[in-house]
Symmetry: C2
């Protein structure tokens, strides 16, 4: 009960917490190999060895970052679930898209790192043991894709992944897509929500039953 990550969570003003916050952003923006420990230290305004003093190896810091963003995302999803509970499906989806999108646009490094986790290998494998996001089952249940949390059909997991990734894509790709479509930030966010509703609501709404 005294890992650097727990200490950082306990005191948000501590140096550990400051470093973690910057590391999240940098790793999210440039990826694991694209980020150097010196870049992080410079951004925090400390010497590189202070960083090593608090966090040890680069892989340890990266691992903590991943654990941290997964934790944040899980907490947010629980919060969303509380809000949408009991409403009709299409409405649930609409609200969930709205809340999750707003949240991720505030913390884009979460989307960056989640996608990075899925898509990219690292040379020296700081491979955090394939942490299957347990909240996938919660989302599946919340979207009427299955009854219990225990046995989720593969199709349901796939659909949840597709849904979550659609959102992450637009967050992570903001810079690229906005430049491409010549949109202001607010316009872009609105278009993202509209597009997600266009894709997700008909899909989940039209065939509540037909699961393999």
């Amino acid at each position: 009960m005294a890992t650097p990550l727990e200490k950082a969570r306990k005191d948000p003003n501590s140096m550990k917490a400051k470093i973690l916050k910057v590391a999240r952003r940098m790793f999210g923006e440039y990826g694991y190999h694209g980020t150097t420990t010196r870049m992080i230290a410079r951004e925090v305004g400390i010497d590189i060895s202070t960083l090593y003093y608090h966090w040890g190896e680069k892989t340890d810091l990266y691992e903590s970052v991943i654990l941290d963003i997964n934790n944040d995302l899980r907490k947010k999803l629980v919060e969303v679930e509380k809000v949408i509970h009991g409403r009709p499906l299409a409405r649930r989806l609409g609200i969930a898209i709205d809340m999750v999108t707003d949240y991720l646009f505030e913390c884009p490094e979460i989307s960056n790192l989640v996608l990075f986790q899925y898509f990219r290998k690292t040379r020296e494998e700081p491979n955090l043991d394939f942490h299957v996001p347990d909240f996938i089952s919660d989302i599946a249940r919340s979207m009427d894709l299955c009854k219990t949390r225990e046995s989720i059909p593969t199709s349901a997991s796939m659909r949840v992944l597709a849904m979550m990734n659609s959102i992450h894509n637009f967050i992570s790709g903001e810079e690229f897509f906005r430049e491409m479509l010549k949109l202001k930030r607010e316009e872009y966010i609105d278009h993202v929500k509209e597009t997600l509703e266009f894709m997700l609501i008909p899909a989940f709404n039209s065939r509540k039953a037909g699961l393999k």
Copy 2:
């Protein structure tokens, strides 16, 4: 008319072509910073300076890789368009999903690199001038999202991006998702197609009209 890329395309057995092929795979797997010129050279079985002899700087090679995969993808989409032309929309989508998915599972580095292009920054910016994929307008027209190729509504572009990214996600994330869901390759591919149909067909089929 004598760039290394053109030479490589002309003679697929040339050393330039061999290097390009390996570079595609490596950059796709490990990203720009995650791939070293030595890794590529070792994989090809040549000395590192032979690689520099043929391709010059690392950024030049990377740029050629990006141009190459964009070109391949565009060619494939033209081919798909020829096959689906004239059929009803839902059928067009079904066939397109099938063909494009099969193709990308054969060349997963295309999906890797496309997503990498969208999502990740590189430190020293080998930023190929924000090449807006021109085939987006073709797809939009092919999906009944607009009439002409010239003026595509932003919503249409967004929907095409969402669609393409959904496919790329499952290709790039194969290793991670398959491990997570404990699926064999064939099972996974089938689930991917089913999920894409689940998401895309109702969306594009149900509201041919309602575009902002």
